[in-house]
Symmetry: C2
Subunit: 196 residues, 2 copies
């Protein structure tokens, strides 16, 4: 096959941009406000290069997200804990998502409200949401509780939206532990006790 069409400098630049973006999001206090120009400048490349490499802002954000969470996903699904009860796995998944979002707040804020803008897709159509919703729904189907699993999954996920987490944690009025406890309590109330 004619393969290797992408030039080596393109590959290198992509990596440099990704690294710069990752760093900026980790440092900034205003993720959604981080402009493409800033990221390009920080990476030492032109703006056009960023768009060639990632298509658009959302694509760049997705790539950063992907780089950060790809390895985390199997763990979130609780794949290794083979026989855990679905209810436990729902709890673990939701808590894991919450933790991940808290630890990467600015990135997640940017990612979620990039979805919010028209023109592109809504939050609910982004790959990361579809993945979380699909996974959650599947688990919920395994512990029937009398409500449409798809709807329940949406509700659970809306409880861990990045902007809500940010609001709760922002001024220190609520601690991370309290948030996580609240999420746990939410799952416990929403799903019936495992009978066994």
């Amino acid at each position: 096959m004619a393969a290797q069409r992408t030039r080596s400098d393109a590959v290198r630049n992509r990596a440099v941009i990704l690294a710069a973006a990752e760093r900026l999001f980790a440092e900034t206090a205003d993720g959604p406000g981080l402009s493409t120009d800033e990221i390009a400048a920080a990476a030492g490349v032109g703006k056009g290069t960023v768009f060639r490499a990632f298509g658009d802002r959302a694509g760049l954000l997705r790539a950063v997200y992907e780089a950060r969470f790809a390895t985390l996903r199997p763990a979130l699904l609780g794949d290794e804990a083979g026989g855990a009860a679905p209810r436990e796995r729902v709890r673990a998944l939701l808590e894991g998502i919450a933790r991940a979002k808290i630890d990467n707040r600015q990135l997640m804020l940017a990612l979620e409200d990039a979805g919010g803008q028209r023109k592109t897709e809504t939050l609910f159509e982004t790959p990361q949401y579809r993945w979380a919703h699909g996974a959650l729904k599947e688990l919920l189907e395994q512990c029937p509780h009398g409500v449409d699993p798809a709807l329940t999954a949406h509700v659970l996920l809306s409880a861990v939206r990045a902007d809500l987490l940010e609001h709760l944690l922002a001024d220190g009025a609520t601690t991370e532990q309290e948030v996580l406890d609240g999420i746990r309590a939410l799952v416990d109330r929403l799903l019936p006790e495992a009978p066994r």
Copy 2:
């Protein structure tokens, strides 16, 4: 008092703009995409006039919201139904909010993501959110259920965020009735049965 400082044409224009905005939001399919210029044009005034009358985009949206919901609020609180159980009142409030948002989706979408933008306030700091959260929290305090009422209120409200409702109803995959049933079920699960 020196009173009546506002000139009559200013008052008239304010009303015209408000009416135009209300109509546009009722007609459009892309609330957040409605620009201030479009609203000004539809009202037959200059853009400056809109900003003088309402301060900024968020102010205009708030005013439209206010005009539409001011009379509705007491009913949502269940003030007339004197002795209803708190649990019923939570259900009624949340359902009422959901219905109102569904019936004014484009406006509410615009209002909620105007909150999302930095520079101004976040969704959670907007008057309408604070009102809903305060009211809900107060009701929740009257039916203790072992979880922080403030947190529970946030979770319940995030289940009726405009963009989620829009997503659920958009392609007709979910009916309005199903959504309302889901919300009802959510409340029922989250709050303990009234001991009666």
